[in-house]
């Protein structure tokens, strides 16, 4: 269950951003996670509150964009959607494809609940 370690890494980044903004409450954390990243989104959502307890991120909603697995065929050039364990070109069946999406593991954005933090941002101009 490496999602716990992933959550810890995620929390450290989120808190780093929160600290730069001087915020006390994080409302929403948006992530982009592909099925081939090796992360199970539901496990991540379950584990995050355990890791974030007692921090400004403890009430955060985790929102995860599901990213489809897409491949570009090096044989016929076509682009198609694929299954995680059958990365094949839908048009010609070739396995000589490049993965163009589905491997993402990104922190997209953090939403803060206290407006004060934004005043601080405007003041410092960081």
């Amino acid at each position: 269950m490496h999602e716990l370690a992933i959550c810890q890494a995620l929390l450290r980044q989120v808190l780093e951003v929160a600290e730069e903004r001087g915020t006390q409450r994080i409302g929403r954390i948006k992530l982009r996670i592909g099925p081939l990243s090796g992360i199970e989104p539901e496990l991540l959502k379950t584990a995050f509150p355990l890791v974030a307890a007692g921090t400004p991120g403890e009430d955060a909603n985790i929102e995860i964009d599901d990213i489809p697995v897409r491949v570009r065929c090096q044989n016929c050039g076509s682009t198609s959607q694929a299954l995680t364990n059958r990365l094949l070109c839908r048009d010609c069946g070739s396995w000589r494809v490049k993965l163009i999406s589905g491997y993402e593991m990104l922190l997209v954005s953090v939403e803060f609940l206290d407006a004060q933090s934004f005043n601080k941002w405007e003041r410092t101009g960081v």
């Binding site: 269950m1 490496h2 370690a5 992933i6 890494a9 995620l10 450290r12 980044q13 951003v17 730069e20 903004r21 409302g27 929403r28 992530l31 081939l36 990243s37 090796g38 992360i39 491949v71 995680t84 364990n85 059958r86 990365l87 094949l88 396995w95 000589r96 494809v97 490049k98 993965l99 593991m105 990104l106 922190l107 997209v108 954005s109 953090v110 939403e111 803060f112 609940l113 407006a115 933090s117 934004f118 941002w121």
Partner: protein, 256 residues
């Protein structure tokens, strides 16, 4: 020398901040950074250690009991003086595997992870400082036996080798696509047990690997009776040589 961790530093050093945080409308800050960014920086730092010492770093992964340590013992013995090997051993508990490697004649550092199901770049970095990289050609990082979690963490390795033993079933690449997609070489191990197992089809295992868009070589071998070991040794020698060539060429450009 790096002030923070006492190592030799490098351009990809993980302490360097590269904040790309930008404000967007409302109360939202766009970040767009890898979740495992911290680990990735550390991994890049480890890789710069390996490159500076012209060491080929191999992350060895498989399920528990697929024969990682046995393959390493056989490799150390088969290589003799041709390449010098060191091993970082990752296990939840015990020094058993490190002891086996030392008995086979190579230096080994044991990492015990407690309950952690994978190695990360920080653990490997701590272990690196217990090894003399200048006297090593190939460093094996034997990951925790697990076909899921280790795949998500870059350790700074140059190559991933994934083992699949014939006792496990030929559909493992289909069941664990993240791990097998990352393989730079897949070794089918315990070939000596093939007859006893009866229904493992190496060709099918290879097909499943190809269906992950992975063109990696597939070797069939037995650490116990030596079958197929020559191709494995040839691959290692070839990879170590190209790693050295690449690094010394790079070194020449950077400092020549």
């Amino acid at each position: 020398m790096c002030d923070s961790c006492g190592c030799l530093g490098g351009t990809d050093h993980f302490h360097v901040s590269d904040s790309v945080v930008q404000p967007t409308a409302g109360g939202e800050i766009t970040v767009l950074r890898g979740i495992l960014r911290e680990n990735d920086h550390q991994a890049a730092h480890n890789r710069s250690h390996f490159d500076a010492a012209q060491v080929l770093a191999v992350n060895l992964m498989s399920s528990p009991g697929a024969g990682k340590t046995s393959l390493l013992e056989a490799t150390i013995r088969a290589l003799g003086a041709r390449l010098s090997i060191a091993v970082i051993e990752g296990d939840l508990e015990t020094e058993n595997d490190a002891r086996r490697i030392r008995a086979a004649g190579a230096p080994a550092v044991q990492i015990t992870t407690g309950n952690a199901c994978h190695l990360d770049a920080n653990m490997v970095h701590a272990a690196l400082h217990k090894l003399d990289l200048s006297s090593i050609d190939v460093l094996f990082i034997e990951n925790v036996g697990n076909l899921v979690c280790p795949a998500a963490f870059d350790l700074g390795q140059h190559r991933n080798v994934v083992l699949l033993s014939v006792t496990e079933g030929d559909d493992k690449p289909e069941k664990y696509p993240v791990m097998f997609r990352a393989a730079d070489l897949m070794a089918v191990t315990k070939l000596d047990l093939m007859a006893a197992v009866g229904d493992f089809d190496p060709a099918l295992a290879k097909t499943h690997l190809r269906e992950l868009a992975n063109a990696a070589p597939v070797l069939e071998l037995s650490a116990r009776n030596g079958m197929g070991l020559e191709s494995w040794i040839d691959w290692l020698i070839h990879e170590a040589a190209s790693c050295r060539r690449l690094r010394s060429a790079h070194h020449g450009i950077a400092h020549g």
